[in-house]
Amino acid sequence: MSSDALTIQATEAAGQPWTQTLHGWVTTVDHKRLGVLYIAYALFFLVIGGIEATIIRIQLMYPHNNFVSPQVFNRMFTMHGTTMIFFVAMPVLFGFANYLVPLMIGARDMAFPRLNAFSFWLTAFGGLLLYFSFFGGNGLYGAGTAPDVGWWAYAPLASRAFSPGHSSDYWTISLLASGFGSIGTAINIIATIICMRCPGMKLSRMPLFAWLNLVMSGMVLLAITPLSAAQIMLLVDRYLGGHFFDTQAGGSATLWMHFFWIFGHPEVYVLIIPCFAFVSEIVPVFSRKPIFGYPVMVGATVCIAFVSLSVWAHHMFTIGMNAYANSFFTITTMVVGIPTGIKIFNWLGTMWGGKIQFKTPMLFCIGFLFQFLIAGLTGIMLSAAPFDWQLSGSYFVVAHFHYVIVGGILFALFGAFYYWYPKITGRMLNESLGKLHFWLFLIGFHLTFDLMHIPGLLGMPRRIYTYEPGRGWDTLNFLVTIGAFVQGVAILVFVANMIISYFKGAEAGNDPWDAWTLEWSVSSPPPEYNFAAIPTVASRRPLWDLKHPEDPDSRYE
């Protein structure tokens, strides 16, 4: 009798059975757990998307290579693009927003916890649907499995005649599902930030992280929805015999391009603005100075959001728009550079005169600053319509947007991982492995994407599965592929670091970086209810006020 009781207690002490743990995670509505689910899900797809990129690069390593067939190559670049944008970048950024926004604004959860879970599972099923196409996309037609129409699925490529079977339908429906998930999460983030702030947390005192995610969510509402609408039209065309994008019945292939890029370009800013948010939190802490120009940062972000909604057709200069449209989209695209430049100077201004600590999160942020600047400069080059006529559809464009997405977004993300991993797990990531990860990834990144500009300038088009030798691209393509492998090794170091540190990392404590935002005031990992008592804040740096009662920020507001 007594021994039975002891056994039960022992089991409880050892933890719940795994079924119960699984049940807990599947049915959770806690913003922290959903944040972790988002991030884990995105990391899983990062590995898959990375493998697809590696397959593309191995195929292009030598001229006339036969590593994969042209059909498989088309599937690989379609799936790589779709996966990385919709099932890596979006969920991982939503994951961080989910985890951190309520903690930073002193709330116990998101505004709509169940909508939060619903949105996550919609996104999750979207990803599963996309990959189920490898098994189910064939239909009865023998028509090929995964989608192979490129991540933008231009008409008429995605029409029934040119894309038989179901592969394009899996693409459409998976993006519709994950798109509704994104809209749900965006609504949730906005409602949380507007309605759940703790007392004293005025909009002018919110951490920039919350501000930038608020702007990002507003953009999601405006940018993802055109894609959803266009996907519905594509489904009408493919299943009900509609003619939206059917040129033979008077429809317009150009309209699809407009609808796609009305989504597609703001999407870049939907992805980069949360990365600005990471940098705006990390740079001040490791420079030991408050952010330089807080109101200007907010204003610049809002400005970027507005301007970026009117630049989309710079993706379409080569379709032959009139001179006014070309000039308009050239000018608006160049104008985006102004608020973005303001941000870069503000981060530099934050670092200027600070006691900079070169820890891994800061290293990644500094890498971000330089690389994002170069990506912006090639962006300005491509925004000039005549230059774009020459290089649109070449590897120069591929190099440019990978500079934004890898050199900008991914570097900032890695910084965020090193910065907030201790909060999420309670353990520090290993600093030497982190530095190894940084330098390996930096070398691999520059080897791949610096060199990739050159074959583009020499005329190498995108989406070709192989090329003739002797055009001056051979050595460059070989080196680009070597760079991809170096990046792959760096990612392995990162994954190893996360696993090893989870079990053996140093205890983080509440506030390992001596930071100033509210998430560092609670234990690591935070308790389920976040705050035992809802905090009250009086300045932008509530933890500074707490640590320095003799000289609080609130005195100067």
Binding site: G106, I187, I262, N530, T536, A538, P552
Partner: protein, 198 residues
């Protein structure tokens, strides 16, 4: 540890933030407006681009009566919500039922129109560009009416069971925002399809 006492505590009572239901619904309406905008743009872009008939001028009849039904349902739901706020449940239920009836009438009108277009004029979604854009835009709006009517009916069922009181007036207001949005969208659709498009 987690309670952050500030050196300058503010008066807690003064801290008031907007209702999350209303903000959430406003965001949803914002997102839905973007979806409708794309469909409206497609409709406007394709006016007169059909290669075969029938054309809107030949077959469309302006649904004035059903439009009046839908627009007046905005008034009835507004006053229903007001009555609920003041605790007059009977008046609330009556006006709520009237709202559902008016919405249902509108939906019936759409059904009659579609039936006429399909069986008398042979216009389906695959006939020509007009058919594709017309059924998509009007259908998208009708599907929102159906969604709205379903939510209104759920409230009606709870109301008849005596479970809706003044304490729920905030939530009813959120639903009424959505219904107003559906009505406003109809004004746009009506203008585009029956005024500009003919």
């Amino acid at each position: 540890m987690s309670a952050i006492a500030s050196s300058l505590p503010e008066t807690r009572g003064a801290w008031k933030l907007p209702s999350r239901g209303k903000v959430g619904m406003a965001c949803l309406i914002f997102a839905e407006s973007a979806i409708f905008t794309i469909f409206v743009v497609a409709y406007l872009f394709y006016i007169g681009k059909s290669l075969t008939g029938p054309t809107p001028r030949e077959v469309l009849e302006t649904p004035i009566f059903y439009t009046i039904c839908l627009l007046s349902s905005s008034l009835t739901i507004h006053f229903a919500a007001k009555f609920l706020e003041r605790g007059r449940r009977g008046a609330f239920l009556l006006l709520w039922l009237l709202t559902i009836t008016l919405g249902g009438l509108f939906l019936y009108g759409t059904g009659v129109e579609w039936h006429r277009l399909i069986y008398e004029h042979g216009l389906t979604i695959s006939t020509n560009l007009f058919g594709t854009t017309y059924y998509s835009l009007v259908g998208l709006h009708a599907s929102h009416v159906i969604a709205g009517l379903s939510m209104l009916s759920i409230v009606l069922i709870f109301g008849l069971a005596g479970r809706v009181g003044p304490e729920h007036s905030g939530r009813v207001d959120v639903l009424s925002m959505y219904w107003h949005f559906v009505d406003v969208v109809w004004i746009v659709v009506f203008t585009v399809v029956y005024v500009i498009g003919r």
